[in-house]
Subunit: 198 residues, 2 copies
């Protein structure tokens, strides 16, 4: 309760963001009001721009501000390698590493019998189309190492087998990871995929 | 890096809010984009409204959307009791309790020799004016229980002595507090201010 209707409404909406509760929403709004010229007005403008223009790329499912996202539109990224991810957050994580130079395909979830999500609920038919029509040479299945993620990876691998080179992300000890803190599954995977030292 | 310039700019601005870092800003922006019609557009609109209209009340220093805040404008709140707080966040906290029915005076900080903040840097002259011109019968000094807060309270008490009834918030054990976890100062204050049982 800030004693003002508009400010209260703003706090209520901010409190709906993930990671913010009522207390941190109040702090954030007070901070914004104190910096209303430098931060709040530009933030509101940019939020309006993005709210008006953000949409899913018709080609890959990434979020951009046009019908085709910047990655699909860039000819430099058309190297014939397609990286399949579950959702846009995963795509952003891959992009932050800066190491992948091909294009993406965002499934929009994983297959799940429990939630009755089949291939047609995901962007899987579109993936099979793209492998056909774009000159794709390799598909990297960068799905999460969860049961649903791996089920989905196997399903896609079945569909694409023989038509294109398939690979998945390596599993093992994370960089900076300490064995003592790792779960048994990760250690088993790292041991099974051990490499001869150069 | 979201691969889109506008979305990246939005994430950068969101990451400047207190309590949000780059990772939680990305989560928040992705959430907003997914709910762009229901949450993002109204939030952007309300943020623009508040950014355009928010200002400090000329009378008490509270933040509102007009020259005079809703509390100062409400005749129901003019009961002659004035509650002095350090900043707007403290006023909001008092309002949430819902128990105080008078008006406020927001100092905008505390006296601090170290930061060379004197009475004229705060809203203290205006407070003395208000006690004179509004028919104030009691001033409650609701300043934080810190060294600077208490110094400021003593300075204001000196200025107002004999002109109006003065009080300060009670100090003691917080509701739900366990003695074992309280600091020595709080226990000393609670013991010194002990009350006979009814």
């Amino acid at each position: 309760m800030s004693s003002n209707r508009d400010i209260d409404a703003l706090i209520d909406m901010m409190a709906k963001l993930p990671g913010l509760g009522p207390r941190s929403a109040r702090r954030a709004v007070l901070h914004l009001i104190r910096k209303r010229a430098l931060l709040m007005a530009p933030l509101a403008d940019m939020m309006q721009t993005v709210a008006a223009n953000a949409r899913e790329c018709l080609n890959c499912g990434n979020i951009g501000t046009g019908d085709i996202c910047d990655i699909c539109a860039s000819s430099a990224r058309g190297n014939g390698i397609l990286c399949v991810v579950e959702d846009v957050a995963d795509l952003w994580a891959m992009e932050r590493s800066g190491v992948f130079k091909g294009r993406y395909h965002v499934l929009g979830g994983t297959l799940s019998a429990l939630d009755s999500i089949g291939p047609d609920e995901l962007r899987i038919p579109r993936l099979l189309d793209r492998v056909q029509t774009e000159s794709v040479t390799e598909v990297i299945l960068a799905l999460n190492a969860t049961v649903d993620g791996q089920t989905t990876a196997h399903y896609i691998a079945d569909q694409l087998e023989g038509r294109v080179a398939l690979s998945s992300l390596a599993q093992g000890v994370p960089i900076g990871g300490e064995l003592d803190y790792l779960d048994d599954g990760t250690i088993t995977a790292a041991l099974n995929a051990r490499k001869p030292m150069a």
